[in-house]
């Protein structure tokens, strides 16, 4: 009873401590769980739904050399004013076309590796197919990425492409390694 009375007399102090503790450790974990741009690969996915946490954990099982972190975000994260620069984007075919039409310099042209299907635009290839609408199959579908609603098949293919501001694809300005390409291959190899 006395303890409770004492606590109530200093309730504001205890409450303030709880708030400070949550804010402080939240901030520290944000710092600890991040890495400089040169040490992380950022993936943006614009699908019906994604399990960003599980996908990041899965991709981090095979971290490329020199990379500490793989961050997976919903594409809307980019759209709400974040200044995070994506290395890899997974978008619908129509969205990729729109990006190339409106801002072609934002997408990195690539050479399609053997066994992959590319997205051609204006004579260059810009994306690698990750979801096939004809067969309704895609990398990591139903486990990490949901390309279609359950009651409605997806009519469009999805493509994986690289942002020109990436520093993890050899050939891009300021590239330090080819880690984004390695992560992309890992992403494409996820069970269908």
């Amino acid at each position: 009873m006395k303890i409770l009375k004492n606590i109530m007399s200093q309730f504001h102090t205890f409450l303030l401590w709880a708030l400070a503790s949550v804010l402080l450790w939240g901030w520290i974990y944000t710092l600890v769980n991040d890495a400089p741009r040169e040490k992380k690969v950022t993936v943006f996915i614009n699908a019906v739904a994604i399990d960003d946490h599980a996908l990041a954990v899965r991709l981090e099982e095979h971290l490329p050399d020199g990379i500490r972190k793989i961050k997976v975000h919903d594409f809307e994260y980019q759209m709400i004013g974040s200044d995070v620069k994506g290395d890899i984007y997974v978008v619908r075919a129509s969205q990729l076309e729109q990006m190339l039409r409106e801002k072609p310099e934002a997408v990195l042209p690539i050479t399609v590796p053997e066994g992959c299907i590319g997205y051609d635009y204006g004579g260059s290839c810009y994306g690698l197919r990750i979801f096939d609408a004809a067969s309704q199959t895609g990398a990591g579908a139903g486990k990490y990425i949901w390309y279609a609603y359950l009651d409605e098949p997806q009519k469009e293919d999805y493509y994986l492409c690289f942002g020109t501001e990436t520093v993890h694809v050899l050939g891009a300005d300021g590239a330090v390694d080819n880690a984004a390409w390695e992560v992309a291959m890992e992403l494409l190899s996820l069970e269908k």
């Binding site: 303890i3 004492n6 450790w25």
Partner: protein, 164 residues
């Protein structure tokens, strides 16, 4: 015992209080260090797979340990220090003896940035005088009886003597 001056702050009690404050201080520093170490270890062990769970554990440990440390600091060390400062002040001060019928008020009040006290009324042939007594010692004074000589220092009762 009639004729014997009983101090409300005997030297042994003050020594005990000093020992208690020291022990509490050591305990709260140990607790704070242990909690901080646990939080740092959890933070260092965090990775993408477990960061949410680790963060919740860290926040929980930090919050609860912080509450315990705060409680000990405010109501253990803080209150102890106030009582010690108050007692030292009274023991060192000049004491004035007042003999009469003593009545200890049941209501306690907290002095700003100091200890809790209760009022003491002493009825003498000249009239009624009012003093204060440490609330933690008030029961001892009340149990001593009604007819007392109280020794007052800086307006606080520091000792008493049961009148024969």
């Amino acid at each position: 015992m009639p004729g014997q001056i009983v101090s409300l702050y005997p030297p042994e009690r003050l020594r005990q209080l000093k020992r208690k404050i020291k022990a509490l201080r050591i305990l709260l520093w140990l607790l704070a260090a242990a909690a901080l170490t646990a939080c740092v270890v959890l933070t260092c062990c965090a990775n993408t797979a477990n960061s949410s769970v680790m963060m919740l554990w860290t926040m929980g440990i930090s919050t609860v340990a912080g509450w315990i440390v705060l409680y000990l600091a405010i109501f253990g060390v803080g209150e102890g220090k106030k009582e010690l400062a108050h007692a030292s002040h009274l023991v060192e001060g000049e004491q004035q003896a007042v003999t009469g019928t003593v009545l200890v008020d049941p209501c306690r009040m907290r002095l700003r940035k100091s200890i809790s006290v209760r009022k003491v009324f002493v009825r003498t042939p000249e009239g009624e005088q009012s003093f204060l007594v440490n609330a933690a010692r008030a029961e001892e004074l009340r149990r001593a009886g009604e007819r007392l000589t109280v020794y007052v220092s800086h307006g606080y009762v520091a000792a008493y003597e049961v009148c024969p």
